[in-house]
């Protein structure tokens, strides 16, 4: 595996009601990593930590092998960011907002920005206050994609976008990747990442519970569906997530071949979708 473009080790941020606990992950160049988790799991806090928007209680962040805490201002020139709810000065025109933003990013490509504005159906003369949430997100995307970025950080960028545009956008992300670039994409819309993300990281209750290649996850993990009579204490404990209903159970295993061998024809054992993983991962037994 190449040297990670972004490396997080033991990131901890304590709030009164929530703690991001010792989050670690590696993002290699040339890859798209999906950051999945339910609302309030800690995805945004993790992204904010990368962008220097929160003061960490512990942990280290390196980008291109350099400490982000020490060289943040310099390194952030190579990081583009699209927030979940982009905010702009209401009275400013889009062209003005671009003029205020572009000088901070040496490789900002004016021609590409104009092309993106046209492609995304945005008029530079419009004022920020006239835009809907979806249009604000589109505008934030034009600014980010016109930068000469090495890391593109996206915080739920497809929320509020129509399905047609969303599909086009995801295609653009895939095309924008090359051997020096990587994308970190936070979402809870799992279909955006299915078969598209090289790596998937699951965050739950402030913890990174799983981070691996999508291929490895789907090769090793499985969803088990069967009757309640199959559940006993050792089986419950072996599952990584379990949901019981009056009619049966649905569980997650990190040992697909072993589970198939154990249950045989008694239970349905299949490869999980990302949604299965999102729903079941970390869900406590007896829940």
């Amino acid at each position: 595996m190449p040297e990670p473009l972004l490396r997080l080790r033991g990131l901890t941020k304590r709030y009164r009601a929530f703690t991001l606990q010792e989050a670690s992950l590696d993002l290699p160049p040339g890859s798209l990593m999906g950051l999945l988790g339910p609302n309030g799991a800690g995805k945004t806090t993790l992204l904010k930590a990368i962008l220097g928007l929160v003061r960490l209680d512990a942990g280290t962040l390196t980008f291109q092998g350099r400490d982000l805490a020490q060289h943040g201002a310099e390194l952030r020139r190579r990081i583009a960011f699209v927030p979940d709810t982009p905010a702009f000065q209401p009275g400013a025109r889009l062209a003005t907002l671009k003029e205020a933003h572009a000088p901070f990013y040496p490789g900002f490509d004016e021609t590409r920005w104009k092309g993106l504005m046209a492609d995304f159906g945005l008029d530079p003369r419009r004022k920020a206050q006239e835009l809907s949430l979806g249009q604000r997100t589109r505008f934030a995307l034009t600014l980010a994609l016109a930068q000469d970025w090495d890391l593109l950080v996206l915080d739920e960028p497809t929320t509020g976008l129509d399905p047609v545009f969303r599909r086009e956008l995801l295609q653009r992300f895939s095309e924008a990747l090359d051997e020096r670039r990587a994308i970190l994409f936070s979402t809870h819309i799992t279909s955006d990442l299915e078969d598209r993300a090289d790596f998937v990281t699951f965050v739950r209750d402030g913890q990174v519970v799983l981070s691996d290649t999508q291929e490895a996850i789907k090769g090793r993990w499985g969803v088990v569906k069967g009757g309640l009579d199959l559940l006993d204490e050792p089986v419950r404990r072996a599952f990584k997530g379990l949901r019981e209903t009056p009619h049966g159970f649905e569980a997650l295993t990190d040992n697909l071949p072993g589970t198939r061998a154990h249950f045989g024809e008694q239970a349905l054992v299949e490869r999980p979708s990302l949604e299965d993983l999102l729903v079941l991962l970390g869900r406590k037994a007896h829940a």
Binding site: L53, G72, P103
Partner: protein
Amino acid sequence: MRDLLRRDLKLHKVAFVLPAVVALLGGLAAFWTGEPPIVFLVLSLGVVLLQPHALHLREEHHGTLRELHVLPVTPRQIVGLRVVEGLLGALGVALLHGMLALVLQGPGVFQGLGQLVSPGWLWMLLMVLLVPLPVTLRWGGRGWMGLILGAFALGGGLTMLGQFEGALPFRTALFRALLWTMDYTTAHPWQHTLALLALMAACLPLSEAALRRRSL
């Protein structure tokens, strides 16, 4: 720094108009009322030195503070931006007032340059811009609410103290110390100015530390 200043000029045009209007009105008021221009200049400077705080709070109000912090700039540069905005604003207002006074009231309206180099300006710069700056950068609007409430509480407390003269054992010593400081600094302008400059310099790293502690 230059890019940050340009950014603010582009994004906060309306906010920059206010100090100019205040300066203009102050200059005209000096002419109409016949009061010394320095009185209105002091008032205008007070408003202008609040302007960097207002800009930061405006960013907070519009939810764009996060965008400012994500930019590839250091916290020190953001502190520098606010200080420079205050200094440039003060300079602009002083020039505007001076020009208006000269045009409307003729030469000789300022009774000597001594007025213009008064340590009072440094006090204004310190108390209006620099001392509250860490509060603005760390707590934003909430910090200002705290400052205003704190000022009221302090005012109220001092008023109450007057009614209990001699009742508190520390009061005499505290007030003596305060009076001695005031006497000393008035009698020793150089030490006074140096002490003020030292206090001003101390506010800058404090502001930077405050900004680093802010989570958005």
